[in-house]
């Protein structure tokens, strides 16, 4: 594990010279050597040097993913008596399969929760339990919902633990439930919604097969294959910066690139997108928390 973290840090440093956001150039040095092809359709499947390096690295890391550290931390949070109400999540929080049951819960969310009267994704449900069952203050959780280099929010570790307990299980968002189906349809509308100064929607970048922004491949989230890519490996340990990040973060950063305002953490809008994408991946096998570039 220690070894893995050292390797991860080295890789992160190597990548640190390459800006990660789409508006920037992901891999200038690594890709400059290749000769460009003439005007014909761009070679979409071609992998740049940085991608090849990263994939080698990911294989090497598979045995000891740094996400495991956060998983262990999350398990500790799940089982410990905590919060103003001095209760553990393991004895109070229902992730949809019964109080305290974690195995298989992640791949069956988002789902409808009668006690909250809402369809919720995993991270949102965990936050709901922390507030309702353990008595944590919503405002405190909202203060810094995403990890920085030196800080990992508790829900991030918790969702990593919960997700890891669905490893090798199939996505099975309960679309037969009309309340879930409704949120799914609303999510589809959100992915279609063009607005903002650049007229972008999710589909501008994720609405067709084989598209790229710079060298970053963009999954087509409307297809089972693309949606599977989109939800796989989240939550993920991100090499660049060495932080553990969740789907809530990913959605926020895509809205940033879309030139939209900031979506609220654990909001209906994010749940609708996660419902749409995860249900489109139904039937695919989840491989557990991953490593992201």
């Amino acid at each position: 594990m220690r070894q893995a973290l050292i390797a991860a840090t080295a890789f992160a440093l190597a990548l640190a010279t390459q800006p990660v956001v789409a508006q920037n150039k992901p891999a200038p040095a690594a890709t400059a050597k290749k000769a460009a092809k003439p005007a014909a359709a761009a070679p979409v499947e071609e992998k740049d040097a940085a991608t090849v390096e990263f994939e080698k690295f990911r294989t090497m890391m598979e045995e000891s993913n740094p996400a495991e550290l956060f998983e262990a931390q999350g398990e500790d949070f799940w089982k410990s008596i905590r919060g103003p109400k001095q209760v553990s999540l393991a004895t109070s929080c229902d992730l949809g399969l019964g109080v305290g049951i974690v195995k298989g819960a992640y791949v069956q969310m988002p789902r409808y929760f009668a006690d909250a009267g809402k369809v919720m994704d995993a991270e949102r449900r965990i936050v709901w339990c922390m507030i309702e069952k353990q008595g944590f203050k919503e405002a405190d959780i909202m203060k810094q919902p995403f990890a920085s280099g030196s800080y990992t929010p508790e829900p991030t570790s918790l969702v990593t633990y919960v997700a890891a307990n669905s490893k090798d299980m199939k996505f099975a968002v309960p679309l037969k439930d009309p309340r879930v189906k409704e949120v799914y349809e609303i999510g589809r509308e959100v992915t279609n919604h063009r607005a903002g100064p650049y007229d972008f929607s999710c589909n501008t970048c994720h609405g067709a097969d084989g598209k790229r922004i710079r060298m970053q491949n963009l999954p087509n989230i409307a297809t089972p294959k693309g949606a599977t890519t989109a939800v796989m490996g989240w939550p993920g340990y991100r090499m660049t910066g060495g932080v553990m990040l969740t789907q809530q973060w990913r959605m926020g950063d895509c809205f940033r690139q879309q030139r939209f305002p900031q979506p609220k953490y654990v909001s209906d809008t994010i749940t609708s997108l996660l419902t749409y994408m995860t249900a489109n991946a139904n039937g695919a096998t989840y491989k557990g928390p991953g490593i992201k570039r």
Partner: protein, 204 residues
């Protein structure tokens, strides 16, 4: 009347006049109401950005395939608002154009407001051969001038396309760089040169 406002009124009138095809579906209406609740202003990205303007509304309601008559009218409207340079010169310096094409800065909540924004062109297009990190959301523009020539008409087309891609194709995925004030006249001229100047590496 300001062009954008005029477009919005026209579009609103068209939506109102159109039957079911252009009306909001129930799910779409719910999605819009939900988004109004769920976004907050951050940096320059103000909360009202989730609201659509007239053109966006037409494209959103028709799955980006508006009825031809509506598309033509609104394209003409967008076209009428394209401001061409007063001096009639449409080609600037391709070297400056390459820098603008490279920069992806602009309009996100993490961009500092007030700084000049970039073109984002390489995010979506292959352009000069030296840059191999290019996106594929738009078509390749390599050899653009070599293939299409650089007549006055072609210069006018490219200037107009960058100024407002929607004046040629109403629901194009390409932003309206001049129309929204993202790129200034001189910057657009440099980009025209990048694509059309025989000396530009794009055409070598």
């Amino acid at each position: 009347m300001n062009a954008t406002i005029r477009i919005s009124i026209l579009a609103a009138a068209m939506i109102a006049a159109a039957p079911a095809a252009l009306a909001d579906s129930d799910h779409r209406a719910k999605a819009l109401a939900m988004m109004k609740q769920d976004f907050v202003t951050k940096g320059q990205a103000t909360a009202d950005r989730v609201s659509e303007d007239g053109l966006q509304a037409i494209c959103n309601r028709t799955g980006n395939k508006p009825p031809e008559k509506i598309a033509q009218r609104l394209e003409a409207d967008q076209m009428a608002a394209v401001k061409y340079p007063a001096d009639g010169k449409l080609m600037g310096d391709w070297k400056a154009g390459e820098k603008i094409a490279q920069s992806g800065r602009g309009f996100t909540w993490s961009d500092e407001p007030g700084l000049p924004v970039g073109g984002n062109c390489y995010n979506c297009h292959q352009i000069a051969p030296k840059e191999t990190s290019f996106g594929t959301v738009g078509p390749s523009l390599f050899h653009f001038g070599k293939l299409r020539g650089n007549t006055a008409d072609m210069q006018k087309y490219v200037y107009g396309k960058i100024y407002n891609a929607k004046s040629f194709s109403l629901c194009s995925e390409m932003p309206r760089f001049g129309h929204i004030g993202a790129l200034k006249e001189a910057q657009i001229k440099h980009l025209v040169a990048l694509l059309l100047d025989p000396e530009s590496p794009v055409n070598k």
